[in-house]
């Protein structure tokens, strides 16, 4: 199997089986149900064949897959009675970030996440999930509300990066991100971050740090996109795969480096092939993580949060 093939070429058989399953979804015919089981088995077998050949850049393509579940998909499946809150109270509302409150296991929870669009119009509307300063300021406003009411906070990370535009710079993109991370460091309620797709640099970090960082198996969290890195360091767009290899930004790498806390497994074929299984896996890890954090006193939690980031870094001292 050639490494030159894109992930979309590699997954063709899986997508075909997935679509056949979807066509049979509402059938009561027992024969169709047998067929669904067979198709699921087919996906598992195909995945076993493909998986060993996937390189980091294939995983990037999975993380950016247009059918991958987005923040609002997680919110509508895992939580209920969500109310979305809008605006930063200073200048604007940024659709690249959604924020609000919902119920989770009969308790209130605050939710913040980057949001991508599915269709062209929504994609443009949400600026391809690249926030402007008002997005970060709205996020912080909702985080402070979570602190005020003593409810835990979960953030969903899925952005190519903060938007590099004229207005974004005028309104203080850097300040907005810097201020957020400083404030998140001392928010008294539990903060869990879930990287569901693209963890794009500072744009992710602005809502992407807390007591525990969880990562979907086929997501990435990087200092720069592999394309940007290839352009700057290799001065060659053809080096994207090499850059992806070098940056070590996959979930397993970041677990080894002590940056993230746990990996959420994805179903065969990836999150986009089976939403329900993806949500169930996420729920399981999220619930356990929240329970662990809630068992700590706020003082202890804040000290652990500080020490968690304090320890990140590799160097020698002699």
């Amino acid at each position: 199997m050639s490494e030159e093939k894109s992930f979309h070429e590699l997954e063709k058989n899986i997508i075909q089986a997935k679509e056949e399953i979807e066509a049979l979804r509402f059938s009561d015919d027992p024969e169709d149900q047998t067929k669904v089981s067979q198709l699921k088995e087919k996906i598992t077998q195909e995945w076993k064949k493909i998986r060993p050949y996937l390189n980091p850049y294939h995983i990037v393509q999975m993380a950016r897959h247009p059918q991958r579940p987005y923040t609002l998909d997680y919110i509508s499946f895992l939580f209920h009675d969500f109310i979305e809150l809008h605006g930063d109270r200073r200048s604007a509302d940024d659709a690249a970030i959604v924020a609000g409150f919902a119920f989770y296991r009969k308790k209130s929870i605050a939710l913040v996440g980057h949001q991508k669009g599915r269709r062209t119009r929504e994609r443009l509307n949400r600026n391809f999930a690249q926030p402007n300063p008002e997005g970060y300021r709205k996020a912080l406003r909702v985080m402070k509300l979570a602190e005020k009411f003593g409810v835990p906070l979960v953030t969903f990370i899925d952005t190519p990066g903060a938007y590099p535009g004229i207005r974004a710079e005028e309104k203080g993109q850097a300040e907005a991100i810097a201020y957020n991370i400083k404030e998140i460091s001392r928010i008294k309620v539990p903060v869990v971050n879930v990287v569901i797709g693209e963890g794009g640099s500072g744009g992710a970090l602005g809502i992407g740090v807390g007591d525990a960082i969880l990562m979907l198996e086929n997501s990435f969290y990087s200092v720069i996109s592999p394309e940007g890195c290839a352009a700057i360091l290799w001065k060659d767009q053809g080096a994207v795969s090499e850059a992806a290899e070098n940056l070590k930004f996959l979930a397993k790498d970041l677990l080894d480096l002590g940056i993230i806390d746990e990996i959420i497994p994805e179903p065969p074929g990836g999150a986009h092939v089976d939403y329900e299984q993806t949500f169930a896996n996420t729920e399981k890890v999220l619930n356990q993580t929240l329970q662990n954090l809630e068992s700590l006193s706020p003082e202890k939690r804040l000290e652990k949060r500080y020490q968690k980031f304090r320890k990140i870094g590799v160097f020698t001292e002699k």
Binding site: P164, K182, G313
Partner: protein, 263 residues
């Protein structure tokens, strides 16, 4: 510096080097601020140009075994030799008008002043020392942002340094951030924008995204003066733009005002 003469990067005039050096490495004709080494910078700030270096023994390990057109470990060796500094930041302690302060200054010559594990660790240690010894801290930024060759480890230094600043705030310790040309990316989006006072030298490039990235994204030319100190002052991101020769008196006055220490 070799030779007696040099050309100004901005006005292109041929200038007598001594005239520039006597003028804080600022062009006497057009006010262009030449980039300084940490040693030159600290000489202008401390009493009698005297200071003590801190945390000099921390070295990068090339944790990702990163290799682009060259090995990162090789680059590190080269830049250590070139700059005589172990990495892109120098931590120091000394006095300004007799007031003991900590100054961290970034070295742009070292891989573009980029922040990896060592820069993040050293800036955090400087902040923690300021906290423990109750000393005002000044950080002089000059950086292209996070260091790509250390991947996500570099990114997380933004949180590490910013968390330490939150603690400093709670302990009522003054932190003055001085942004110099250029300060962009992960350094701007963390400690450089978080001073009690943020000031910059004239005409310094300061931003989140680099101008080239923005031009490529929006597919148009950027207006003149965009992302320069004066532009940031106008948009409320800085407290002031301070000429290099006024930097020392400005910092001393601010520290005195915050600490209620009249002359």
């Amino acid at each position: 510096m070799k030779g007696l003469w040099t050309r100004c990067n901005q006005c292109r005039r041929i200038l007598y080097k001594k005239d520039i050096l006597d003028n804080y490495s600022v062009c006497p004709a057009c006010n262009f601020h030449f980039r300084l080494t940490p040693k030159e910078r600290l000489g202008f700030l401390y009493d009698q140009a005297q200071f003590e270096k801190l945390d000099e023994n921390i070295h990068s390990d090339d944790p990702l075994k990163f290799e682009d057109t060259k090995k990162y470990s090789q680059r590190l060796r080269e830049y250590r030799e070139k700059t005589s500094n172990p990495d892109a930041v120098v931590n120091t302690v000394g006095t300004m008008e007799g007031i003991r302060v900590i100054i961290s200054v970034m070295d742009f010559r070292f891989l573009g002043g980029s922040m990896g594990s060592v820069v993040g660790e050293k800036v955090t240690r400087a902040l923690e020392r300021a906290l423990n010894e109750k000393l005002p801290i000044i950080i002089i930024s000059c950086s292209g942002g996070a260091r790509m060759q250390e991947g996500t480890l570099s990114l997380m230094q933004m949180m590490k340094t910013s968390s330490a600043i939150a603690r400093l705030e709670e302990a009522q310790i003054p932190y003055i951030s001085v942004l110099t040309d250029p300060t962009t990316g992960g350094v701007t989006a963390s400690f450089a924008m978080l001073g009690d006072i943020n000031i910059a030298e004239p005409n310094a490039l300061i931003g989140f995204a680099g101008p080239r990235v923005i031009e490529q994204t929006i597919k148009q030319k950027l207006p003149k003066g965009f992302q320069r100190s004066e532009f940031l002052l106008q948009h409320g991101m800085l407290d002031d733009v301070v000429q290099r020769k006024h930097l020392r008196p400005y910092i001393i006055r601010a520290v005195r005002l915050f600490l209620n220490l009249p002359r």
